[in-house]
């Protein structure tokens, strides 16, 4: 009989409940879209922010010392190098998944056929690494420098192809497809690069080319690393000053949090004789922008649910008012407060849940639209959103039903049944 009452109300007086379902659907669609984006946006924003380049640079320990103490760059007579063979270790640290890309660098000069010396940087453009774990990892400048504008193509590794900086190309009148002769052979220009940094005045070659030219097999100057990091806090700053001063417990928390200093520290642990330095401002703003974006979205989620709750509470109150005689009648023929409230709540929750299901799927669509327009990529639907949205929706319905419950408790059958 209970279900006959519920069914009768829902099916034969549909219109009353469609609005409730719609209101819930609207709130839930916004909430689930936002939450899906929030859960996915970490990656999206980081991909965007990677455009700002490396947030950690790894150099040999002595080079870092010289620079720190004397303000000198490592000079030619006595210079330390890192070993190319150790690069794979970067993907073995605790926060390995946060290391999204890196590129080794070896800087020097090339002597061209006309006798002039030009700056040259040996690096990886798009290099496939076979990791100690057996997986492979594609990385290099192409992954790191998303803001570089390439007229032409990135060089293909092992083909003696190079990028020529735009300014250098202008002064030497080099074009895409040209061949550049240098003291060690021929290089094919696959593209002209413009990025606003040193690269604009250099020739960018495969790492191996520079290693051969400079007679430094297996050596590199430095590594640019792009890592996803957690915003710094007091603990992180304390650790950055000197990790050895942390208590055992603090150290564990710090080590197991993706602070840029923790990641840098872990890099130093695996790369022999290295010094890893955060490029600090960028690392921090990255985390801050991410935090703010997520906060904004959570705020939108909260507000949309709040307005849904207010909408539901208005609709439900109107519904109860309209039906006061019918509900008074139920009380008059013996229904107690509890059973009338249960009946109304069941109706509200069923219509709300139906609205919620539609809203959820609408929200998935909305998330894709947001992903496409804001981040230019799809959003991965996170299943964790379903229980979260369910709980939020139930709270919305409960909150929205409170005024109705109060009205039901004070509803006197004697008052509503003898229309005066």
């Amino acid at each position: 009989m209970f279900w006959q009452l519920v069914k009768g109300a829902l099916l034969r007086q549909r219109n009353r409940f469609i609005l409730i379902a719609l209101t819930v659907a609207l709130g839930v669609s916004l909430a689930s879209a936002m939450l899906n984006v929030v859960f996915d946006v970490g990656d999206k924003v980081n991909q965007e922010l990677k455009a700002y380049g490396a947030n950690i640079t790894v150099v040999p320990k002595n080079a870092a010392l010289l620079k720190d103490v004397y303000g000198l760059s490592g000079n030619e007579t006595h210079k330390d190098y890192l070993n190319e063979s150790e690069l794979g270790k970067l993907k073995t640290i605790f926060w390995t998944n946060n290391i999204v890309a890196f590129a080794p660098l070896l800087e020097g000069n090339l002597t061209l056929a006309d006798g002039s010396q030009v700056p040259a940087i040996g690096t990886w453009f798009e290099h496939t690494m076979n990791l100690p774990t057996g997986e492979s990892f594609i990385t290099g400048e192409k992954e790191m420098k998303s803001w570089w504008q390439i007229d032409g193509n990135y060089p293909i590794e092992g083909q003696n192809e190079v990028l020529v900086g735009k300014k250098l190309a202008q002064s030497k009148n080099i074009k895409v497809g040209d061949t550049v002769k240098y003291n060690g052979g021929n290089l094919k220009v696959s593209g002209i690069v413009s990025g606003g940094g040193d690269e604009d005045n250099s020739i960018l070659t495969d790492l191996s080319v520079m290693q051969t030219v400079m007679n430094l097999p297996g050596k590199i100057d430095s590594i640019d690393v792009s890592a996803i990091t957690t915003p710094e806090n007091d603990l992180a700053r304390k650790a950055a000053a000197n990790p050895d001063l942390l208590s055992q417990q603090e150290r564990e928390i710090w080590y197991c949090t993706a602070y840029v200093s923790a990641i840098a520290y872990q890099i130093e642990e695996v790369i022999d004789n290295s010094s890893a330095r955060p490029v600090r401002q960028i690392a921090e703003s990255e985390g801050k922008i991410l935090d703010k974006t997520q906060l904004l979205m959570l705020l939108i989620t909260f507000l949309s649910l709040l307005s849904a709750a207010l909408g539901v509470s208005n609709l439900v109150s109107a519904n109860i008012m309209e039906r006061s005689q019918e509900l008074g009648l139920l009380k008059a023929i013996g229904a107690n407060d509890f059973s009338v409230i249960l009946l109304i709540l069941t109706e509200i929750f069923i219509s709300g849940c139906i609205g919620g299901i539609f809203g959820y799927f609408a929200g998935l669509g909305l998330a894709q639209v947001i992903g496409m327009t804001v981040f230019e990529s799809g959003i991965t639907n996170n299943l964790i959103v379903i229980p979260v949205v369910c709980v939020l929706m139930l709270l919305v319905l409960l909150f929205g039903s409170l005024p109705a419950i109060r009205m039901l408790l004070s509803l006197q059958p004697a008052e509503v049944l003898h229309g005066r």
Binding site: M1, L5, A9, E326, I333, G334, A414
Partner: protein, 220 residues
Amino acid sequence: MALLELKDVSMIYNGKVKALENINLTVSKGEWLAIMGPSGSGKTTLMNIIGCMDHATSGEINLDGISLMDVNNEELTSVRRDKIGMVFQQFHLVPYLTALENVMVAQYYHSIPDADEALAALKRVGLEDRASHLPSQLSGGEQQRVCIARALINYPVLILADEPTGNLDEANQNLVMKIFHQLHDEGHTIITVTHSPDVGKEAEHCVVIEHGHIKNAEVS
């Protein structure tokens, strides 16, 4: 044997509107009493008190051995559910339930719904062929008969009807009164309220109420 006994019952709304003053009334088992009086005289107020929909301000009320002044609201609901069958002037039915379901709702809140019994109750008021109609598909007279069937379904000791024919035309009024006569003949205790002398005189006894006082009690 007195089924219902009111002693010095008064009802004052909001501390100032004296709707009933010192009402004394006794109704025996099997009696059909009509309460008559002009509009605003306090008839509905009296019905609400007898029908356990409201507490009187003062006095003593005894219904089937229960002192209504001594029970709280919750107990009042269960006394109403177990002892009273109520018919209102407006035909109050749940709009989205069929005639049969409307009768069964009363069973549901009382004990357990029983479609056969509910159908028998509809048959009794001549509506077995309207069982699956919604209230909106029934005439006023038919709706009121569904209300009577619902009032009967839980075997109440007292049937209360507040202006049961107030919204009906003459043909339907006669039909409804015929049902009350049948119920009276079967031994039910009935109180009907009306402002119409025509309807009032159908009852076994009649009291007239005016300005909250009982004017006279007479056997018609």
